[in-house]
Amino acid sequence: MKYLDEFSDPVLAKRLFDDIRAITTRPWALMEVCGGQTHSIIRHGIDQLLPEEIELIHGPGCPVCVTPLEIIDKALEIASRPDVIFCSFGDMLRVPGSGRDLFKVKSEGADVRVVYSPLDALKIAQENPDRQVVFFGIGFETTAPPNAMTVYQAKKLGISNFSLLVSHVRVPPAIDAIMRSPDCRVQGFLAAGHVCTVMGMAEYPELAEEHGVPIVVTGFEPLDILEGIRRAVRQLEAGEHTVENAYPRAVQAEGSPAAKAMLADVFEVTDRAWRGIGMIPASGWRLSPKYRAYDAEHRFSVTGIDTQESTVCRSGEVLQGFIKPNECAAFGKECTPRNPLGATMVSSEGACAAYYLYRRLETPDKEASSVG
């Protein structure tokens, strides 16, 4: 059990919990979209401190988790080529492809490098003109502008040995897809704050209207999440469904015009498969025709990949909020951070990893709680 004194401002946290309790008269199910929010909720036990009527459903907002297996396998194949320096963020190293991961490929001798920023990868390309440098461009709307700028720079500086393996995803189509599912129980959304830092809020009113759900733009710090929940519940209790900004210190209604302009130049919207979920129309970006030359998939023509997903892993259901991670039979048994069957057990923003870190000892299963 978690305690209020774990919050940065326990007095304010208590007031928010009390407020939420006071306004809640019926059961409500809210989805937090961002994996960072999930992590924060589980770490601080927010879901356990809320009134029983309020259920938090964990959403698909972890880019590492939803990057399709096929792209991971393509990454592994490109990274294995002797003329390639493959650059990635550190949290992709242990995401399982069909049978191996980047960590293993590196151990076998491939030149895989962890970078802090895509610009670091571009620099590596400048310093190694005789090698091909590929950057693994995954992420939501927050990560897409840095990657777009890097491709723009590569073109501007005439760096031709750089390319992007791109698998960017967009949040609003995912919200739409979740609401359209016949099994959907979500009644309100805590939208991902940093996605809105870039994109603003213009895409949300239509979704709120069409599906009759409140959408509250929310940060990922514990007090931000409580404030988001408070506002979403207030709307639900009042029968409203509008878009609210509960994260004004980082989000402006119009987002970042400069970043949006760069996105529009470098990328174009495309259908994209989400790992564990499947194809969601218009839910991704790929390089626009002007920048196609920087597309690693074209440059290395990686085709004919035979993917093999774990038959045990239920991460697709976890990502859509149909089950909680500890309802998966493999949780904490066959599937642990040391031997992950799904990406949701690898990424620090993954729901399975968050439960493994903070909830494992609370699951009744003896075997699960004695691991580690």
Binding site: S8, C34, G35, G36, H39, S40, R43, G61, C62, P63, V64, F89, G90, D91, L93, R94, F103, K106, S107, D111, R113, V114, V115, Y116, S117, P118, L119, D120, K123, I124, E127, G139, F140, T142, T143, P145, P146, M149, Q153, K156, L157, H194, T197, V198, F220, E221, R249, A250, V251, Q252, S256, A258, A259, M262, P337, R338, V346, S348, E349
Partner: protein, 112 residues
């Protein structure tokens, strides 16, 4: 990777016709691109994601967030040794040739 971390702009320079800054994240200094928030000045705080400033932030919220991230281990994850972490998670040896990425901005400063 997905979270954005607040940091303070230490110095600004033009590089390859791009506005770049050295930014301090609670002791770790990194190169950050300012093209998306071009009016940043030395001493300002910004929310930074994978080496790009995305939005200006007031000093108080920036400091609060940094403290929270330090406690959550987010700073370690963002700036620390990813190969070491992956090796620990895998229960394996750290692969050879995986020194810190060759960026010139990486330096851990002693906090006063």
């Amino acid at each position: 990777m997905c979270l954005a971390v607040p940091g303070r702009v230490l110095e600004i320079e033009e590089r390859d016709a791009t506005r770049m800054a050295k930014v301090d994240f609670g002791g770790v200094v990194k190169d950050v691109c300012l093209e998306y928030v071009p009016d940043m000045r030395v001493g300002d705080y910004a929310i930074v994601h994978v080496g790009f400033a995305l939005q200006r932030l007031d000093e108080e919220s920036a400091k609060q967030t940094l403290e929270l991230f330090e406690n959550l281990g987010v700073l370690e994850e963002e700036f620390g040794d990813a190969w070491g972490k992956a090796a620990r998670d895998a229960g394996a040896e750290r692969p050879s040739g995986t020194g810190l990425p060759p960026t010139d901005g990486v330096e851990k400063e002693a906090r006063p």
